[in-house]
Structure formats: structure tokens, C-alpha cells
Assembly symmetry: C2
Homo-oligomer: 104 residues x 2
DNA sequence: TTTAGTACCTTGCATAACAAGATACTGTGT
DNA sequence: ACACAGTATCTTGTTATGCAAGGTACTAAA
């Protein structure tokens, strides 16, 4: 998997997941990994960035299966960021595909 | 324009342009810029990389409108690289769009 | 001669994904 | 009791690549 392609888009994927319901980091890694290979070393720093930017809030919850989980909750500005990023992505990949599709 | 989105895909866009016909750097910048903002400081180092990897060959040609132009020609392995990258991109954005499309 | 357009290039910076490892809890098998 | 797999958090250092900001130099028009 070309890791360059993922630059920027992983943030949108994470925000998209959190839009549905609160998740903890390990869960996010596993969900995205079903489609796109991703490592924990990518997600945890990303989550910290999202929190620093105010796009998510966090809370801890006990787990019966291991150590406590840190859940992430999408804030109002996180929803805005999601919408903004989604729009940018839609425009971007549409333009790329037009460029790629122009007849040879 | 989110510059992170462009990571990796610009190589594919350049190879795609060169698949049709030989181009010089300044021309490539202008062609891509019609759809996606891009700077010369991105393209020239990229072209050097592509040449270093054997994906393109170069030749100089006079111009009546300014200094000599350095044309880039796609090699056989450049065509292979294009096909490989195109396939990766198709799979990647399909998966991203599936993830983004899952109902909330 | 000054400016705009064409055309090449480099340096240093910022961003973000990754590999590799550290830490620690729970449950299962021996 | 001990080892191991699975769960769950995190950090450090490396790598890739796009960009801003500059430099050089040619042509042609004002």
C-alpha cells in the first residue's frame, strides 16, 4: 500500500468513523485496517493532534478485556472539520480522476 | 488545496501526461495547475527522481520563446510504473470511498 | 531599460505515515 | 507458577514529498 496516498486522508477517515459513535484508538486502527493497512504509530499521534486542535474530546473507560480504553468523541468543530475535509477530498479526487481519464 | 492529498499522486499524474507525449517541466506544471494547484519547486525535484529511477529519459530542445526546454520521455519501465501506480490508486480511492460511504 | 513571460534550478521547512520498540492489563493453557 | 496471545496505550527516529522563497537566464514588448 502506497503510504503517500494516505497522507491527509486518514484524518478524514477517523473523523468519519467518530461521526457515527465514540471509539477508542485500538478500535479505530482495526476498523480502518479492514480496508487500508495502517499502523498504531500513525493513529495515536493523529488522535493527539485532533485533540490538540479541539476536534475531539476524550474520556477513559474500563475494559474487561485489557487495560482501560481512551474513547474519542467528536466535537462540534470536529464535525465542521469533517465536512470541510470531505468536500476538499471530493473535489480533489474528482479532479485527479478527470486528469487520469483524459484520453491518451 | 490540502497539500497532503497530493502526496504520491502527483507522480502518477506526471507519468499519465507523459504517456501521451513528451513534455518539458514548465509545461507539466501548467497542465496540472489547470486542475490542481502545484508549484515548480515540487515538479523539478520530482522529475529528477523519475529520471534517477529510470522512468523517464531527457533531451534538450531550443525554444523561440525563452531558454532551452528539457523534454521528458517516458521509458518502458516508466510505463510499467504508471500502470502499477494507477492500479494502486484505483484500489485506494475505491476503498476510501467505501469507508466514507458507509451509512452513518 | 524595464517589465512580463518563459524556462530552468536549489535550499530549507513542514507534515504525516511508518517501523520498532516500550509498557501494562486480561485470560488461557501447561 | 509461568508463558503466551490478545488487548490497549504510547514514544522515538526515519523517510518521503510538497511548498515557499529564492536564484539564473533567455526573449519580446512597452
Amino acid at each position: 500500500m502506497n503510504s503517500q496516498f494516505k497522507k491527509g486522508i486518514l484524518e478524514l477517515l477517523v473523523l468519519n468513523i467518530l461521526k457515527r459513535n465514540d471509539c477508542y484508538g485500538y478500535e479505530i486502527v482495526n476498523r480502518i485496517s479492514e480496508s487500508i493497512s495502517i499502523s498504531e504509530g500513525t493513529i495515536y499521534p493523529l488522535m493527539r493532534r485532533l485533540k490538540g486542535d479541539g476536534y475531539v474530546t476524550t474520556y477513559l473507560a474500563e475494559s474487561t478485556e485489557g487495560p482501560p480504553r481512551k474513547y474519542y468523541h467528536l466535537s462540534a468543530s470536529g464535525i465542521e472539520e469533517h465536512n470541510r475535509l470531505k468536500e476538499e477530498w471530493d473535489i480533489f479526487f474528482e479532479r485527479v480522476n478527470i486528469l487520469l481519464g483524459e484520453e491518451s
